[in-house]
């Protein structure tokens, strides 16, 4: 145990240190900036031994990380919002190249209008890239997840990149107690990167050449297959980490008091911590509510969603992002998992918290009450922009 009071960003920097990353490509963007600053300090002070490339854009940050990873080094980078969008091409590239790059993203809203506050659309926009994707709710989870992510990504039968998203300012700039675990303990858990393939002058080969339609399809299937397989390894990695630290990340869904819940609320990020508090208050009042926090979004925990649906009589899905189609991303994927399932409780989508709009306990309480109403009276509407400012806005939404 090495307990310190750390912001999410400093925690991220420590996770890179403990993971013994070998190459860091760094480009600043609010509110990720202090991640790369702390890493630079660690390196400058001799606390961390890594090559540090001050790249000139996020696109280059990912390109450099990919090249470094393909050369056989453990690579790391961090970004947010527009930076993540800028490197979108290269996110797809890292997946196709089957490289275990790990990146921390600070979830920030997209402009225009400019906003630096918490919103998930940046990472949600990347859901098709083939990266394994995690959403964390506290600083400790950032630290633990980065290390577990390397372990899973670097498995020779997985070799997929991982992205860990933390809410802007709620985590990145807020101090919480974090156990950064002794280096030897992490070394024991996470061995040095042993690549199954790399650029090697003693064994020359070409990486990334042209493939005809007769094989491209199969290469893509292999990514899908690895993504499925990863579910098992994510749980195994979490099991091992649990034995070492006592911290339990064994569920792809972090289910809180779901087992006997009448209604369950899905969502991701820090607002789910708030939701868990509200669950306790409402349980004390006799209301059977529960929370299913989406911790692992890719691979998508379809089986776990179905298990929740087996028990719940109504399901709410909060999306802190909106893709301007038919409902939020989480809502769509939860629905998709349930469509062909025997138990299909009504599901309702709550768009909430965009651009850092605070998700307060009374908002969650209102949502739970709304879901309980859905359970009793049936689904009134599928989509609700919760807290939308309008004439005669209900108290509970303000």
């Amino acid at each position: 145990m090495v307990r310190m009071l750390l912001t999410g960003n400093k925690t991220t920097a420590y996770s890179a240190m403990r993971s013994r990353v070998q190459v860091v490509s760094a480009y600043p963007i609010t509110p990720q900036t202090t991640i790369v600053e702390h890493i630079a300090e660690f390196i400058a002070d001799g606390l961390m031994k890594a090559e540090y490339i001050q790249v000139e854009s996020e696109h280059s940050a990912m390109a450099a990380a990919i090249a470094a990873s393909n050369t056989g080094a453990r690579a790391f980078t961090a970004t947010s919002a527009h930076g993540l969008l800028l490197m979108h091409e290269m996110l797809h590239w890292a997946t196709g190249a089957r490289l275990p790059v790990v990146m921390v993203n600070v979830n920030r809203a997209l402009g225009p209008p400019w906003s630096v506050w918490a919103d998930h659309l940046d990472s949600i926009s990347q859901r098709d890239t083939g990266w394994m994707q995690y959403y964390v709710e506290n600083n400790q989870e950032i630290f633990d997840t980065v290390i577990m992510a390397y372990k899973v990504s670097e498995r020779p039968d997985i070799m997929l990149p991982s992205m860990i998203s933390q809410d802007a300012f709620y985590l990145s700039h807020t101090v919480e107690p974090v156990d950064i675990v002794e280096q030897e303990v992490v070394d024991n858990y996470l061995p040095p990167y042993d690549p199954p393939y790399r650029l090697d002058v003693n064994n020359p080969a070409g990486f990334g050449s042209l493939v005809m339609p007769n094989h491209y399809y199969e290469f893509r299937y292999k990514i899908a297959e690895a993504m499925e397989k990863a579910k098992k390894y994510i749980k195994e990695a979490a099991e091992e980490w649990y034995e070492i630290t006592g911290r339990d990340y064994r569920g792809l869904l972090d289910c809180y008091r779901c087992e006997d819940a009448d209604v369950v609320l899905f969502g991701a990020g820090t607002m789910m911590s708030t939701a868990k508090e509200v669950v306790d208050w409402m349980r004390a009042e006799g209301k059977k509510v529960g929370v299913a926090r989406i911790r692992v979004f890719r691979p998508f925990p379809g089986e776990d969603v179905r298990k929740v649906a087996d028990g719940a009589a109504a399901i709410g899905v909060m999306d802190r992002a909106y893709g301007f189609g038919r409902g939020g991303a989480f809502f769509n994927e939860v629905n998709s998992a349930l469509y062909n399932h025997r138990n299909r409780p009504p599901t309702k989508n709550y768009i909430i918290g965009l651009g850092g709009r605070d998700v307060k306990p009374r908002h969650i309480r209102a949502i739970f009450n709304d879901l309980l109403k859905v359970k009793d009276e049936g689904l009134d509407e599928e989509f609700r922009w919760f807290g939308l400012r309008r004439e005669n806005m209900p108290e509970e939404e303000i």
Partner: protein, 104 residues
């Protein structure tokens, strides 16, 4: 065609391209008149397709015996790969290479 479970994760290319017989592209082929060849190897130097080899020249004639004796190698066209671009013929200082139409 390779089944998906026998593929590497990502296309790793390590089969030497020499298996691709680009000689089939030719419409004209270079023919070296060894009696004019002075073994300068300019043809070997400029070939974009690495299709001129330096081989043991003892069984080939040369412009003079002296040349043949001092320079042991002779340039030999690799017709499996030569694309018939004509660079060797163009650059040869003694015009020892002629571009001849490929017979079909």
């Amino acid at each position: 065609m390779i089944p998906y479970d026998k593929l590497p994760h990502t296309p790793i290319a390590s089969v030497n391209s020499v298996v691709v017989k680009t000689g089939a592209w030719r419409t004209f082929k270079p023919v070296i008149n060894y009696e004019k060849c002075i073994r300068c190897m300019i043809c070997w130097k400029f070939c974009p397709d690495v299709s001129i080899r330096l081989e043991d020249g003892s069984s080939y004639p040369a412009q003079s015996e002296r040349i043949k004796e001092t320079i042991k190698e002779a340039p030999v066209i690799d017709y499996d790969h030569c694309k018939g671009c004509g660079i060797c013929a163009e650059e040869c200082p003694t015009k020892a290479i002629e571009m001849v139409p490929e017979e079909k």
